[in-house]
Symmetry: C7
Subunit: 89 residues, 7 copies
């Protein structure tokens, strides 16, 4: 099953905290907040977005952003371009 985000959205899966720590980026907040780093699974239909964000990119996204969905019991997020803060290389 393939999920194609519409327009300027990306489909991402969150990177586990341990893995994220290896990569050594943590985005903590008030307390035990989930890291806000994720891997891009699919890029939306917007062409300008496709030039800037690629499948496999790791992104940092802003707090309280993203729509949660679950596919085959795995959680994903759909994040809008305006909530993508940076790409981690």
């Amino acid at each position: 099953m393939k999920i194609k985000p519409l327009d300027d959205r990306v489909l991402v899966e969150q990177i586990e905290e341990e893995e994220a720590k290896v990569g050594s980026i943590i985005i903590p907040d008030t307390a035990k907040e989930k890291p806000r780093m994720a891997k891009v699974i699919a890029v939306g239909t917007d062409e300008d977005l496709q030039e800037h964000v690629k499948v496999g990119d790791k992104i940092i996204y802003s707090k309280y952003s993203g729509d949660e969905i679950k596919v085959d019991d795995k959680e994903y997020l759909i994040v809008q371009r305006g909530d993508i803060l940076a790409i981690v290389g």
Copy 2:
């Protein structure tokens, strides 16, 4: 009776939870939330939308979006483009 959405809207019917589970996408939230996956019945008059979304497509739409209508005792939703998160292929 035919319903033609105006401008950048689509007419959709929600996909039953069982059927959605077969397709294995669930979009749960706080508790017993309806899956937010639906099948496109009609695409609005906007030409750019028509290039991106087709009749028969399955879409995931954002929470609290869509206007409910009932035709021949069957419920439908009219969803704006900005609330279509992704197309499921």
Copy 3:
């Protein structure tokens, strides 16, 4: 007396519930809500709107939209394009 909506508005009259049921579209909400289906009596001065909506069209409009007016003791609504969800054919 003729009423010409300005810009991107339409003048409509609500379709009676019985008649609407024959046409079999009902747009219920929390409780006894009026059906939100109406017949277009006049189309505004906006040319793009005139291409998409015609006198005699039946429209579905969004909740809490429209300005009520009364002409010769008959009630009408003036609805903006952005509140027209679909055209029923």
Copy 4:
């Protein structure tokens, strides 16, 4: 004394309820609301507006809109284009 509205505004005088009833348009609301029909006295400097609204036109305007002014003890309203719902012919 001449009052020239600036930009996309019109100067109007409200049509008395009796006269408005002869014309048979009433725009009632919760209770004893003033009819919202008025006669155009002057059209603003905006050229596009001047093509659509003429001195002498009767307009219906939206609720809670318009700035009241008084000239020679007579009350007028200055109404923005966006609050003009329709022109009555």
Copy 5:
């Protein structure tokens, strides 16, 4: 000392109530409200505004608009174009 409003603003001085009554325009509101008629002292740098509003023009401006300043113990207002309702000739 010369005050040049920036962009689409005008510098005005309020017209005294007595003088305003001679001119016979009063813009009362809930109670003892100051008349909202003023004389233009300087027009902002915006060229389009300069075509529509001239030094010496009497304007009517909308309620709660304008920034008060005091020069040589005399009060002035700086009013934005969007708050100028009409020009009185």
Copy 6:
């Protein structure tokens, strides 16, 4: 140390009340409000702004606007173009 405002901002220093009174402009408000007159120290990178506002200009700025900063124990403000009401010559 040089501070270059970005885009359509200006760096200003407030003019002392005594000095401001000599220049005789006071912008009082509810009570003991600081005069809102200031001298331009640096103009932002926006070219259109640079045509309208020059280093050394005295400006009047709107209430509650400006970001305070302190350089070498001296206070400055960074004010956006939209909050510059007028230039005093």
Copy 7:
């Protein structure tokens, strides 16, 4: 690990208060507020931004702006162009 801000954002690291005092800019507020001066580590993908802000620039940013992230136990901020007040040379 490289962090590339997306669109019109910059990645910055805050300048320590002592260092900032040497540079002698302090941006105090109600009480013990952190100085809002920071050094640019990476500039976003937006080309116009890249012309105005360079890696190594010291910026002053507005209050309550910026998203905090932590890389290798060091804190950074991602700040949008609209929150960059000035560049310090």
